[in-house]
């Protein structure tokens, strides 16, 4: 059970990292996520069924997510549409695209297909228990992604991306095109979300075009839960916080699913719970702000490094 929570939390943390990049670093609330999560899942599933090399699959999944993010950023940049609407447009279009990718179906099973996860488990079977193998492997995957992200945000480009959400005028003053930065940022974010979808499909044993509903909200809830854990302005700690937030969120959802029936809750109520979690987080952080203002302590919970 604990392993399950950890593994799920890690798989979804890739998506939460994406949500963190758009919502917190870029200040670009991006709803493409609900479409790019199943996009990653269906592409991964279709390619695996075709027998494509798993590593190639992952590259293609990331590229497809990046492309989805690019579409959103372009709609926002070129048509001067608010970012929320741009994301909703792409998300809606992706629903049809995802069905197309599945060959006019709504879902595809993966139970008999060789996946990355099943191969890893197979390789270690008899030596390490299945759950532990899965956990170790996901820790490895998430660690690699996290380290790459940390490295990226220390480069000149990454730093400038960090400044964009805080002060767009400054980015322009430094001679950088903010439109290009938005494409890169929203692209990377959705690439990560798609990767998360790809691993979720393998873990669940199927890909479904409806598996994205509510993703962005659960991602945001995870980010906010993480923000209660500790404060920092170092990117390495911020990404770590995001991963912890994702795991804690999955833990809360698990409790809701298995012990919720004591208060007559069903799994269908989980989205309501997620929303309420976000509202509670908002209320707490709002009161915290007031408190810290009272204390004249204007120490900012910063974004970068």
């Amino acid at each position: 059970m604990l392993e399950g929570i950890l593994v799920e939390g890690l798989i979804y943390s890739l998506m939460v990292l994406g949500v963190f990049i758009t919502f917190r670093i870029l200040d670009f609330p991006d709803l493409t996520v609900d479409g790019s999560f199943p996009l990653g899942a269906v592409i991964m599933a279709v390619l695996l069924v075709k027998g494509v090399n798993p590593l190639v699959c992952l590259v293609l999944v990331f590229a497809a997510g990046f492309a989805a993010g690019t579409v959103t950023a372009l709609i926002h940049n070129k048509l001067k549409v608010p970012n929320l609407l741009a994301g909703i447009l792409t998300m809606t279009m992706l629903y049809s695209v995802n069905i197309r990718i599945l060959g006019n179906r709504a879902n595809i099973p993966l139970l008999r297909t060789k996946t990355i996860l099943s191969q890893v488990i197979g390789a270690a079977s008899g030596i390490i228990p299945e759950g532990i193998t899965l956990l170790l492997f996901m820790i490895f995957v998430v660690a690699v992604v996290k380290l790459l992200l940390d490295l990226f945000f220390h480069t000149d480009l990454g730093l400038t991306l960090g400044a964009l959400g805080c002060n767009e005028q400054m980015v322009i003053t430094q001679g950088v095109n903010p439109e290009g930065l938005k494409i890169i940022g929203v692209g990377i974010s959705n690439g990560l979300v798609a990767l998360s979808g790809a691993f979720a499909a393998q873990y669940l044993g199927f890909a479904d075009v409806n598996m994205g509903i509510g993703t962005v909200v659960s991602g945001l809830a995870s980010v906010m839960i993480g923000e209660f854990l500790f404060q920092s302005n170092k990117i390495a700690l911020l990404t770590l916080r995001v991963i912890f937030g994702s795991i804690v969120f999955k833990g809360i959802m698990y409790l809701g699913r298995y012990y919720g029936y004591y208060i007559k809750m069903t799994p269908n109520d989980l989205k309501l719970i997620t929303g309420i979690l976000i509202i509670i987080s908002l209320i707490i952080s709002k009161n915290r702000e007031k408190l810290s203002l009272l204390r004249k302590n204007n120490k900012k919970g910063g974004v970068m490094k």
Binding site: F152, L159, A163, C166, N167, M170, G175, N233, G302, K305
Partner: protein, 264 residues
Amino acid sequence: MIQLTSLSKVFNEGTVNENRAIHNVNLSVEDGEFVTIIGSNGAGKTTLFNLISGNMFPSAGKVVINGRDVTKDPEYKRAVYVGRIFQNPTLGTAETMTLEDNMTIAHYKGCKGLKKSLNRKLRNYFKEQLSELNMGLENRLKDNVGLFSGGQRQALTLLMMVLSKPDLILLDEHTAALDPGNAQMILDLTLKYINEYRLTAMMITHNMSNAIAYGNRLLMMDGGEIILDISGTEKQNTTKEVLVEKFAEIRKKNLANDELLLSP
């Protein structure tokens, strides 16, 4: 350095709110000139800067910088050689990032790559530059800029701007949001940098004494036009009273002209 030819900016053209913020302005600023600009609220000073920096595009006319027609270039492209400082000290820096990160972003202008520029050598260079500000900022490289005072942030913005070696700097009431002590400090710093780096500068100010005391050319704007342009000894010898007098004189003339035009 820069030539503005028949430059006009009309806001809300063709509506009841039509507003000619800049009206047929011709101006040529030479290399190394330090121009101060005065004019009442709404005279069009900020709009003129917006047109030069590319923050807005003109309704008519041409902007030439360093011999290149940049009229259609977006702001971020011109920013590589045009530095700009705003009245609001928070606009020049990213407050949720550390001092060293801010300086890294600013230390060269233009496209950024996947290079990690920030290393010990660059840090030492930043420290050297910061210590010249005499604010102790050289010991706060890892602090978020949001923790600094308005004066510190404006000084930092100035430093970051000159380190990127712009050809032209635009200062829009950049001391107006600061207390008198800090305002003087920033003004002195501005002067020091302009002399040290031989910058071409344009400075908007509402302080007439400063406009007279600083720089080697003075422009007065009103109603979207440059109504007075003095330099050299004429500027050196002018006083507040003379400027106010001239302003009234020119405006009256304009009024008379308008009345002439309006009468059938």
